[in-house]
């Protein structure tokens, strides 16, 4: 083969090393090999138009990832050996990790499963390879997170049974149903939901709060994971953008379908992020930035520019974006208030912010905190000091779509819940907002299937007739150990002991060991 033609450029070479391995089948029908590509109504005229979001052959992948893993595990080892958990700002911080391990890490695993599936479903080989690499990255995230949290689990409560709780605990159906929704959808919706809306549009509102929160609060293990996952995330973001542009360019009939998915997944993502908002404003002893600031930078500014860019495809910004923007000054306070009164049934603790934290909240939320939330908090604080720590013993109304208690308020009036309800085939359904109500109306046959935790408790499907039994037996939340108020909890006692402030009471030491 002496005659040399033109040497391949990088782009063509990568295509030879990926999509050229595939071929047009002749013994089986294409639609039998790829049966899931049609039913969503998306039209793909030419998969060869797919631009590879990144060009990583397997040998390069193994090499770079192995280098990252080596460094990461060296730090995990040193962290454990030096009892790095003692260097965090305050034990209250660990409650953010409890939320992370039970709410977020299981989504990494679900993402692994989802991407492995779409890494098979698409008939475009370039897209398959990109999805498969994301699948194995997400497996990495789920496993390194287990390892990063492993040492905390040994020294703090509430981290011990995350995936069991993810399937069962009332507030964890918020993240669980989010990913179930995406995974039960078709492959194009999955990618629009997760790669575009989640990994591209909203990713910084999930990762920056947790990872910078770790950095500001002396948590070496988590921050190291965050740094290590950054270059994975850069790939995931590029895939998200490539996917959306590709589908939009393929056929004009795709535009309204994609628009509907963007509306839906923006709203579902925004609702899911309420949990992150409260984590950021309330669970980090050393604050990074307020949720309101994060939303402004990462959504209003960055997202604004992105949707401006997508205008040329006929895409407008997500519906009810204005409601979400207005809610940035409320959601974290509303969520924390809700968790405060229901922490008899959570795997993490809640507490009332200290005076200087309230001052910070007043400063960051000048229009809303003092007016709507401070008085409530001061009242609860006073009640607690008089021996009447407030727990709400009546279970809340859940939203049929996002499954968060119906606790959000009208855009123009933060004293009125934005409760909505409709009748569908003789049954009544309730929602937290117009955003969730619209999502339901588009696919009622999907959302009527939801496993709503509060309803399931009332139907007797959660192993007990009263909340403490459900919490202990079905949720595996250790009563008086994992749940309730932070002050006086075994975590709090151990922390005071570690810091030499107060020796561990033997009774609580025993209790926490049980």
């Amino acid at each position: 083969m002496a005659i040399k033609n033109k040497k391949l450029n990088l782009k063509d070479k990568y295509q030879y090393l990926t999509r050229d391995m595939a071929w047009e089948p002749t013994y089986q029908k294409k639609e039998d090999i790829y049966p899931d590509e049609q039913f969503e109504g998306i039209k793909i005229t030419d998969w060869s138009q797919w631009e590879d979001p990144f060009r990583l052959t397997m040998d390069a992948y193994w090499k770079y990832q192995a280098e990252k893993e080596k460094k990461l595990y060296a730090i995990f080892d040193a962290f454990a050996q030096n009892n790095g958990h003692q260097n965090i700002s305050d034990a209250r911080y660990v409650n953010a990790l409890k939320l992370f391990l039970s709410g977020v890490s299981p989504l990494e695993y679900a993402a692994f499963q989802g991407y492995a599936r779409v890494g098979r479903q698409f008939s475009g080989a370039g897209a398959r390879v990109a999805c498969q690499l994301q699948a194995i990255d997400e497996l990495r995230h789920s496993q390194t997170q287990q390892h990063a949290m492993s040492h905390y689990n040994k020294h703090f409560n509430g981290l011990h049974d995350a995936s069991h709780q993810h399937d069962r605990v009332w507030f964890l159906s918020v993240p669980k149903s989010f990913f179930d929704d995406a995974r039960s959808a078709g492959p194009f919706e999955f990618l629009t939901a997760i790669s575009f809306s989640f990994e591209y549009v909203l990713t910084n509102l999930l990762f920056v709060p947790f990872m910078s929160g770790a950095a500001y609060n002396g948590d070496m293990a988590t921050v190291t994971f965050g740094f290590s996952a950054q270059s994975d995330e850069a790939r995931h973001m590029t895939l998200g953008l490539e996917v959306i542009k590709f589908i939009l360019e393929q056929h004009e009939d795709n535009v309204p379908i994609i628009q509907r998915w963007i509306d839906k997944w923006f709203w579902r993502g925004f609702r899911l992020l309420s949990l992150v908002g409260m984590m950021m404003d309330y669970m980090l002893p050393n604050k990074v930035m307020s949720w309101s600031e994060a939303w402004e930078v990462y959504y209003e500014q960055n997202g604004g520019a992105l949707f401006k860019d997508l205008e040329r495809y006929g895409i407008r910004p997500p519906k009810y974006q204005d409601v979400a923007n207005a809610a940035k000054d409320h959601v974290s306070h509303q969520a924390w208030s809700t968790f405060y009164q229901y922490s008899q049934a959570t795997n993490f603790h809640t507490w009332m912010p200290e005076e200087e934290e309230m001052a910070w909240l007043s400063e960051k939320y000048p229009e809303t905190f003092d007016k709507y939330y401070r008085a409530r908090f001061e009242h609860w604080d006073k009640e607690h000091k008089q021996g009447r720590r407030f727990y709400n013993n009546t279970l809340p109304q859940l939203c049929q779509v996002c499954q968060i208690p119906v606790m959000f308020t009208e855009k123009d009036d933060p004293t009125v819940f934005s409760h909505r309800q409709i009748k569908h085939e003789g049954e009544r359904y309730h929602f937290c907002s117009d955003g969730c109500c619209d999502i339901f109306k588009n696919e009622p046959e999907k959302y009527i299937q939801a496993w709503l935790p509060v309803h399931q408790i009332y139907q007797g499907n959660c192993g007990g007739a009263d909340v403490p039994t459900v919490v202990e037996k079905y949720y595996h939340i250790n009563l008086g150990v994992d749940n309730l108020e932070y002050h006086g909890s075994p975590d709090h006692e151990r922390w005071l002991d570690i810091k030499g402030l107060k020796p561990l009471k033997s009774s609580s030491a025993k209790k926490s060991a049980a």
Partner: protein, 333 residues
């Protein structure tokens, strides 16, 4: 002499996660254990998949194989993500230096035209088989539920992509990175009669629904006959044709196959031993597919090593199957 540095030890509340403690007791667990057991969602799925409304997400009935606990299947290599990429990084380093050596010394381009042609016709088209294996394993990773099982298939999926890429690079070495040799090689895969039974087999595997049937046919039966035939027997035969240097470029595949038998053997043994129903089902699949795999490889064996070599690998496979309580339909062990 070793110096022991004193470190403070702090009394932990517990030694590992509850799910791990339920399986292995409350004692410090390995990295493999904490990464590989009970990570997945198992109950209370919210919506039925639009792409398979008869079943739920993470539905155990995506295979007809029944296991009391799928976590009985474990990986003897103890690969979780970090251990996997660490191992493969070393393997790719060796492959890289072999490819660089062949390139620098022109070991492939100096081969006679006829031998180069043989490589493009008989070896490089296997990259298409690898692509099929990549797709099949990705499907299995998405269908199998237990992490121990799903992750082994995800690792296999990316391995197969990697090996397809190494085969492609053999052609790129031959054509000076123009892609011309890859085009030529692909015409054999599409049109040469020699490849059609294999291409038909691979396309047929792409429509298998039951993921355990698929792993058995792809990762045990097809690989079990193909890898020894190609990378041992045909490798020796290529040596006789003056192309012994190619051997340097397929070392990865030999090491890989040796290693992959560890988890595939362990998996079919565990699954077959679980109950009679499983063993009978596995046997039916072996009976249905093994001879087809053999027939798909026949033309390649005939054109190269002769059928004896294929029969020899078939005998090796039947020994492996026998250890799992299964009988090969061809040569008996």
């Amino acid at each position: 002499m070793t110096i022991e540095i004193k470190t403070t030890s702090v009394e932990p509340i517990r030694n590992t996660y509850s799910a791990i403690a339920r399986r292995f007791g409350d004692k410090p667990a390995t990295r493999y254990q904490e990464a590989s057991f009970d990570l997945e969602a198992r109950a209370n799925f919210h919506y039925r998949p639009l792409w398979d409304p008869k079943r739920t997400l993470n539905d155990a009935s995506r295979t007809s194989i029944r296991m009391e606990d799928w976590y009985a299947v474990t990986d003897p290599r103890q690969f979780f993500y970090g251990a996997y990429v660490g191992n493969r990084a070393k393997m790719q380093e060796a492959a890289e230096s072999n490819f660089a050596f062949c390139d620098k010394r022109n070991l492939l381009t100096r081969l006679p035209e006829k031998t180069q042609h043989q490589l493009l016709r008989l070896l490089v088209p296997l990259r298409h088989v690898e692509l099929g294996a990549n797709m099949n394993n990705s499907k299995i990773a998405g269908d199998a539920i237990a992490t121990t099982v799903a992750q082994m298939h995800m690792f296999a999926a990316t391995d197969r992509l990697g090996m397809g890429q190494y085969l492609s690079r053999i052609a790129l070495l031959l054509d000076g990175s123009t892609g011309k040799a890859l085009d030529e090689s692909k015409t054999f895969w599409m049109d040469d009669e020699l490849w059609q039974p294999m291409r038909k087999l691979v396309e047929d595997l792409l429509v298998i629904d039951d993921w355990f049937e698929l792993t058995l046919v792809q990762n045990v039966l097809l690989d079990g006959l193909m890898y020894p035939l190609i990378y041992d027997h045909m490798d020796a035969w290529l040596g006789e044709q003056g192309a012994e240097d190619v051997s340097l470029l397929t070392e990865f595949q030999r090491d890989w196959y040796k290693e992959s038998q560890r988890w595939t053997n362990s998996m079919i043994k565990t699954v077959g031993a679980e109950n009679d129903g499983n063993r009978e089902q596995l046997q039916r699949w072996v009976t249905q597919w093994e001879h087809r795999v053999y027939e798909a490889l026949m033309p390649i064996a005939q054109a190269t090593t002769g059928l004896d070599a294929l029969d020899e690998t078939r005998a090796e496979l039947s020994v492996r199957l026998k250890k799992a309580g299964l009988e090969s339909t061809g040569v008996q062990a």
